[in-house]
Amino acid sequence: MAVSTSKLVCRNVWKIFGTGAREFLDDAGTQADIGALRRNGLVGAVRNVNLEVREGEIFVIMGLSGSGKSTLVRCLSRLVEPTAGEILFNGENLLAASEARMIEIRRHQMGMVFQHFALMPHMTVLANVAFPLDVQGMGREAREARARRMIELVGLSDKEGFFPRELSGGQQQRVGIARSLAVEPELWFLDEPFSALDPLIRREMQDEFMRLQSVLKKTIVFITHDFDEAIRLADRIAIMKDGAIVQAGTPEDIVLNPADSYVAEFTRNVARSKVVRTASLMRSLDGGAQQDITATVSARATIAEAAPLFSGTVDRMRVIDRDGSAVGILDRAAVVELMMQG
């Protein structure tokens, strides 16, 4: 992904539950640690979070239950009112927006997928997907036409007249996804969308999600408690613990350079080859373009993806970037060494 403009910026955001939270924060400032909060009978669900989501990227917020990730994502959409901080969406401070303006933004620029789907039980798939448009006051013909397009996009066209309880969990979440896309949002929140599904279905839904994103190219904030899911889907990951972000970076960054022992605990069992990209393992071109090497591999491919390309006679490959020009050389030996590490 090309480096591009920031879609959503979050500066010094706090969410503290309990009475006198605001006063406490004014006194303590950014020094407020968990101990001080607890002594005052407060709960710091989100503590001094700074992050930046770029246009078109998948930004994953990963944390265990109780780490504050759900509260944070609700602060980003202002479903939960942050205690302090600034949230800039397309440069506009959401915390200063009026209720009417927020309704406007949510209606047209944001979409959200929920862990337990939150489908209306008394509505058909079609009516559910069209529901956000109905709330906006869009006419029946127009909204059903658009809803049908979304249902087709998630591959449920034959289930249009069904009710949620007649569908499997995976199908229900497809409906949830179609509904959140119906307003054609710029910013797409997914709150643990696959956590309630069986592992096999989860895998399938992740693939489906990647396929959708390759078509739609939305800006995505994705919440999960599953580190493998985060690694698999993310362009960048932020890891949360006790309401604060402990590390943010690309999956590769995090796996190769965990910030502390807490993060290292997650990365320990991750196969390096599935995270490390060829660009990180290649050696420099040594001056010449090495035209004699015919095999090529993308700079964005992971080592696990590149490894099968080293068939019988190939010992070296040219690593090429997006434009097709060579940026380095990948040796079989380096790949084998990394694969041996697990």
Partner: protein, 673 residues
């Protein structure tokens, strides 16, 4: 008793948790104090009989307030009475319309000069309509049931009265549902409003209906509209509570969804929350219908005609046969409406398929069939009187048979019944009544406050103490003790019968199916119906009241016991079995222990049922608060009725709060909270 007491006392002393499982030291001290005061406190006469000079003249105040409301309260342009008469006429219009449709026909002119412009729906049309509704909502079995119920009404000559009753239900139930829904939504949205509303709802549900019949009579005038207002007061609170609770139980994700798609507050309520809570709301709808039917007989005291009036009239004539016939007709109507509304509740939750390609005819088969039936019967009714009115020659009456059966029992078993009744009266009822009557009000109030403190803290103690003091201070103490004695012994017997039945039913699936049919039927019986056979066998008095109350209040004891036992986590039972528990051990050590909070709530409901029945038993000559309310009703004395009614409500609230607090504690102790 002394040895185990000491033992538990020692155990409580070492156990770190205060108010442990058995009687703890503070409890024993309080009981000893109480008994000491009772036996040796004779010097303080005022603590036993509340002195007349200190009484709060609440009756006079209420009577005065009522008089002021009726005579002089004014909002400037119009008076309070104008307002209530206006409300009455607003209810009156739709009621007249439905009544004309079902019973009287549309008339022009007054009295005997009236000319029928348009006849009412014929009995065939009504039966066909409800049968179609049954078919639509629940299929053939339901259609058959509803058909039989309504055919019963026609065949047994109850048709006209039943239609009058149905008309008032058709007005009262929707009003109650809509009103309850709106109040519930308001309570959900504004916590402050809920705080103010909760005690009002508590009172509405605990004050005996008789107590507010008089003020309603004065404000709304005698007639069906006053009866509908009384029914609304009685039937609306559960709907309000169910609505507030159901909305609160909607998962947070739906609220988030509503906000994420940019719902306004109104859209959030009506498009997101209410539809998501629909299944629970339908429970409230069913409740309103059943409670409205339950009110039918009482409402007929202030002018609702129909089946209720027939029952009441028969009861006054002591015509058991006719009374039972009308009573059974109410039950039949209740069963039909109950099943219909439940079927619609289930149907509302189930998916339905409509294909857009179908023609109008194919999409609305039921509506069209209904319209056709109505049109046909109207036309046929013009030619054939038998279509319009069920021919009298074909009516059946079994009232005589009922009377015969009762007479036969009385002739053959009079001595046995009488001996049984006297034995219970002399050995149980009378001594208990004396014992309770002799207790000092101050001591009882203090002991109750103490129990409130141990179970729920200082606030509960203050509430319980204040309410019991008010009962004494308004001069109701003596009658209240009789109420407590009758209620207490009835609840005890109902629990002794109900809880074992519940335990047995929970263990045996087939037995439970039968028991459920029976208790479902018992619950649809209007409370008056219980009185009639008992009066016939045992005549008037405390014993008759006792049996009627037990029969009425045994249902919740059974139901909650089964519910509690079924809710026990099956994994725990499995664990017990894996440890090698016997069936008995699983029951006593695991199931009953964990079901305790639920059984306590069942006890609570049993008390509420007993109290509401107790008031009605005033008709068979008890001497308690119910009688006081009833006398006030016959004398149209608002103050006297409301004060006694409030005393009943206070007893109910004291029992409810203490038991709820106990159940909550039990739940915490068992780790279920």
């Amino acid at each position: 008793m002394s040895a185990p007491t000491l033992d538990t006392g020692r155990r409580a002393a070492v156990s770190p948790a205060p108010g442990g499982r058995r009687l703890s030291l503070p409890w024993i001290a309080a009981l000893v104090l109480f008994v000491g005061f009772w036996l040796f406190g004779g010097a303080a006469k005022w603590a036993f009989d509340y002195p007349k000079a200190w009484q709060i003249p609440a009756q006079r105040w209420i009577g005065g307030a009522m008089k002021w409301l009726v005579d002089s309260a004014s909002f400037g342009l119009f008076t309070f009475t104008d307002l209530t008469r206006f409300v009455a006429s607003v209810i009156e219009v739709p009621y007249r319309l439905v009544l004309s449709l079902l019973s009287t026909g549309f008339l022009s002119g007054q009295g005997s000069n009236a000319v029928e412009l348009f006849p009412p729906l014929s009995w065939i049309a009504v039966i066909a309509l409800v049968t179609l509704m049954g078919l639509h909502a629940g299929g053939r079995r339901l259609a058959l049931l509803v058909f039989l119920c309504f055919a019963f009404l026609a065949v047994f000559g109850q048709w006209n009265s039943a239609m009058v009753t149905l008309a008032s239900i058709l007005i009262a139930a929707p009003l109650g549902i809509i009103g309850g829904l709106l109040l519930g939504i308001a309570a959900y949205r504004w916590p402050r409003f809920e705080k103010a509303l909760t005690p009002v709802l508590d009172l509405m549900q605990t004050i005996p209906v008789f107590a507010y019949l008089v003020p309603i009579l004065i404000l709304f005038g005698f007639g069906p509209t006053a009866a509908i207002v009384a029914t609304l007061i009685y039937a609306m609170p559960p709907m309000t509570r169910v609505t507030a609770l159901a909305l609160r139980l909607v998962p947070d994700e739906y609220r988030d969804l509503g906000r994420m798609i940019g719902c306004t507050r109104r859209q959030m309520t009506w498009r997101v929350l209410v539809p998501s809570a629909r299944d629970s709301l339908m429970v409230g709808v069913n409740q309103v219908i059943m409670l409205s039917l339950n009110m039918v007989i009482i409402a007929s005291m202030i002018g609702a005609g129909g089946l209720g009036f027939d029952v009441l009239a028969a009861l006054r004539r002591l015509d058991i046969g006719a009374g039972l016939e009308s009573g059974v007709a109410i039950v039949v109507l209740a069963v039909a409406l109950d099943r219909l509304s439940q079927a619609y509740a289930v149907k509302a939750g189930a998916p339905h398929k409509a294909r857009a390609s179908d023609t109008f005819l194919a999409r609305h088969p039921y509506t069209l069939a209904a319209a056709a039936v109505v049109a046909l019967t109207v036309l046929a009714g013009l030619a054939l009187p038998a279509v319009q009115r069920y021919p009298e020659a074909l009516q059946v009456s079994v009232g005589g048979i009922f009377s015969e059966i009762i007479r036969w029992i009385n002739v053959n078993f009079f001595d046995a019944l009488e001996a049984f009744k006297n034995a219970i009266l002399l050995n149980v009822l009378v001594p208990l009544k004396r014992l309770l009557g002799g207790l000092p009000w101050l001591g009882v109030a203090a002991l109750l406050a103490f129990a409130g403190w141990r179970l729920g803290g200082l606030r509960l103690a203050a509430l319980v103490g204040a309410l019991s003091f008010l009962i004494a201070a308004t001069g109701q103490w003596e009658k209240a003790t009789i109420t407590v004695y009758l209620c207490g012994i009835s609840v005890l017997i109902a629990s002794l019968i109900g809880i074992p039945i519940g335990i047995l039913s929970a263990e045996r699936e087939r037995l439970w199916r039968w028991v459920r049919v029976i208790i479902d039927t018992l619950q649809t019986l209007p409370s008056f119906v219980y009185l009639m056979p008992v009066v016939m066998l045992f005549r008037v008095g405390d014993f008759t009241a006792l049996i009627a109350i037990v029969a009425y209040s045994v249902v919740p004891a059974i139901r909650y016991t089964v519910l509690g036992l079924e809710k026990v986590d099956p994994r725990l039972i499995e664990a017990g079995r894996a440890m090698g528990c016997t069936r008995m051990q699983i029951l006593t050590r695991i199931k009953l222990k964990l079901a305790l909070p639920e059984i306590l709530l069942g006890l609570n409901q049993t008390i509420m049922f007993a109290l509401s029945m107790l008031v009605i038993t005033a008709l068979v000559g008890t001497r308690d608060l119910g009688q006081e309310v009833y006398i006030a009703l016959t004398k149209a004395d608002t103050g006297r009725g409301l004060v006694a009614g409030l005393a009943v409500a206070f007893i109910a609230i004291i029992a409810d709060r203490l038991i709820s607090a106990g159940a909550a504690r039990a739940r915490v102790r068992l780790g279920l909270a």
